[in-house]
């Protein structure tokens, strides 16, 4: 048994290593502007935020809709901290304000600070909000995300957040270097490493005793409390950790986009992330990752034609005009929500035995059909 477990673990690690090597090779061979790399980067970023939302909604049973707000805090913290101080003092970004934060930090500190800042806000917000139940919690967290967005655009905070204007010229993905050298870090690999480590940490958390407590709270709060689980402490912990990773993914998104503006982090964004989680299956980490990549690939790449006038060789500029892609998407999402509410993975995880079982089942069906014929 023990041997089998070890073997399986080794296989998983090998698969992860192979996928990272594949990404490195892709990065070396493809043009940096290629669609595949863009999709991979954005997909990894969305995977991280979807997994962090799943930790709350799927594993702790807290229906929170504040993810966009925490991403905003992460993105802004990162952008403000890593913007070189000479850019801050010049007029190119802070045109109307005197920048208040005059120092700048590296990428690593920026990322960690982004997470910590989001976690700090989550801790403060969680103190009152986590005492609420299901739908009240949803609306209160949604409200807080809106407040965060409003306050970030407030002109009194202009010296820090640059008001409602966008932030740019911070260290984005093209400026990341390998530590202690000047060699540029392969951008896609960087995103994958940061997102991968973060998701790994979340998986480890879910499999720990804390994770079991989270699941107990999800299944039955009263029973969990009777078993001696401190409800509030565990909810707060889950909320803070989820927000920490949402903050990091916000920072990654800022790095990916080259510019960042508070206006972008609307409640629509949270809805999108929630729908990704639902498509992947509430309570499945691998489901969230698959759904994120699928969602991003479809919306950024494969269904692009729906917005551009021609799709699958059909030219219909009147039908396939701007916005049609999102309309098709929302119809698909509604179908999934109504008829396949378990999503791609349900609450199961992707594993080798499952894939094997799936292939076997199909093979058997095929065999049967052939036999009947």
């Amino acid at each position: 048994m023990e041997k089998e477990k070890k073997k399986r673990l080794a296989l998983i690690w090998a698969a992860i290593a192979v996928s990272y090597i594949v990404i490195l090779i892709l990065e070396m061979t493809l043009r940096p502007t290629s669609m595949l790399l863009t999709v991979l980067k954005k997909g990894a970023i969305y995977s991280l935020v979807a997994v962090s939302m799943n930790l709350l909604n799927g594993f702790t049973g807290l229906f929170s809709l504040g993810q966009a707000g925490f991403m905003l805090i992460g993105a802004y913290t990162y952008a403000i901290l890593t913007m070189p101080s000479e850019v801050k003092t010049s007029e190119s970004v802070y045109k109307y304000y005197q920048c208040f934060i005059t120092f700048d930090t590296g990428v690593f500190i920026g990322l960690i600070a982004a997470g910590l800042m989001a976690a700090l806000f989550a801790f403060l917000i969680g103190l009152p909000v986590l005492r609420l139940k299901s739908d009240y919690l949803a609306i209160a967290t949604l409200g807080f995300a809106e407040i965060i967005r409003a306050v970030c655009q407030w002109d009194v905070l202009g010296p820090v957040t640059n008001g409602a204007n966008l932030l740019r010229r911070y260290i984005d993905l093209t400026y990341v270097t390998i530590p202690f050298t000047d060699i540029p870090f392969p951008p896609t690999l960087f995103v994958f490493i940061v997102a991968g480590i973060s998701i790994l940490l979340i998986v480890l958390l879910i499999n720990s005793s804390y994770g079991r407590a989270f699941k107990a709270i999800r299944d039955d709060e009263t029973a969990a409390e009777a078993m001696g689980i401190n409800l509030f402490r565990h909810k707060e912990l889950s909320f803070v950790i989820s927000s920490f990773f949402a903050g990091i993914s916000g920072a990654l998104l800022a790095m990916f986009q080259y510019t960042v503006q508070a206006q972008q982090f609307k409640s629509m964004m949270t809805y999108e992330i929630l729908l990704i989680v639902v498509i992947g299956g509430i309570g499945s980490i691998s489901g969230s990752c698959i759904a994120s990549f699928l969602y991003i690939t479809l919306s950024e790449w494969w269904l692009r034609g729906l917005d551009m006038g021609s799709f699958l060789g059909i030219d219909a500029p009147n039908l396939f005009r701007s916005g049609f892609r999102k309309l098709v998407f929302s119809v698909i999402i509604m179908i999934i929500v109504l008829f396949f509410s378990r999503g791609i993975m349900g609450d199961k995880e992707l594993s080798l035995t499952r894939i094997k079982g799936f292939i076997n089942k199909r093979g058997m069906k095929k065999g049967k059909k052939e036999a009947e014929a």
Binding site: S134, A150, K326, V337
Partner: protein
Amino acid sequence: MIGFLHDNLSYFLSGISVGGQYALIAIGYTMVYGILRLINFAHGDVFMIAGLVMVYLSSSLPFTISIPLVLIITVALGFLIERVAYKPLRSAPRMSVMISAIGVSYLLQNAALYFAGGLAKVYPSIPWLSSSIVIWDSTTKMVTVITPFLTIALVILLSLLIKHTKIGMAMRAVSRDFETSQLMGIRINSVISITFMVGSLLAAVASLLYFSNYASVTPTSGSMPGLKAFVAAVFGGIGSIPGAVIGGFIIGICENIIKGGASIFGIPGTGWTTFSDAFTFAFLIIILIVKPTGLFGEKQVDKV
């Protein structure tokens, strides 16, 4: 004091008017929540769709036809949303119904974006409603004055409907106990449909008033009023219609007082409008912590 009131009358007037519009939307939220225990996230978007439909209809039809048509289309939309998106999930966990509601909201916004484009559409100026009027030296639109009276009249009608008709009685029974009323022979599905239709009708009226005042519609212009009306419903105690109305007025007035912060409190700054949005949510959180059942809400006891 009189002078102060006189100088800032426009803020108070528009506060009362917006408050009445929020109240009409909030009734839709509170009635649906009372019966299904569902936050109908799509309600704000139904309100927006009513505005867009009005823009398109009035470009080719006279107001005497287009206004009733808008009301009918919105009611049909409310009915359709309930049948397609919420009815199949009646026995599903509450979270999936809420996700479905979010999905509908996403769908409506994207549909509006596709059919109407992202640019703001100019709302037609309805004769008489949009004409200017001078009250105590401050100029405002007729709609500002009409809204509170119309709101109160509609609420009285609604409460007559709920208190004195058979369907109203059925609604009250369903909101008290879903399963028992089913056993008593009440046709749940038709009661729920009618609830959605009444809510949508009021949202359509609110959209006529609201957009006459603001004069432009975008696909996202329903989400903010929707959220604020929801806050109003929570403040009044969700499930209670008078509560929703009072909540709507209070939120509308407070919000406009904050908007006028620069002249009312004498503190300069241009960020007051942003803050009025933030205020609503801060207010919501305070209510939820201090008195989660709202002003007139019933206390709920959790059973194991």
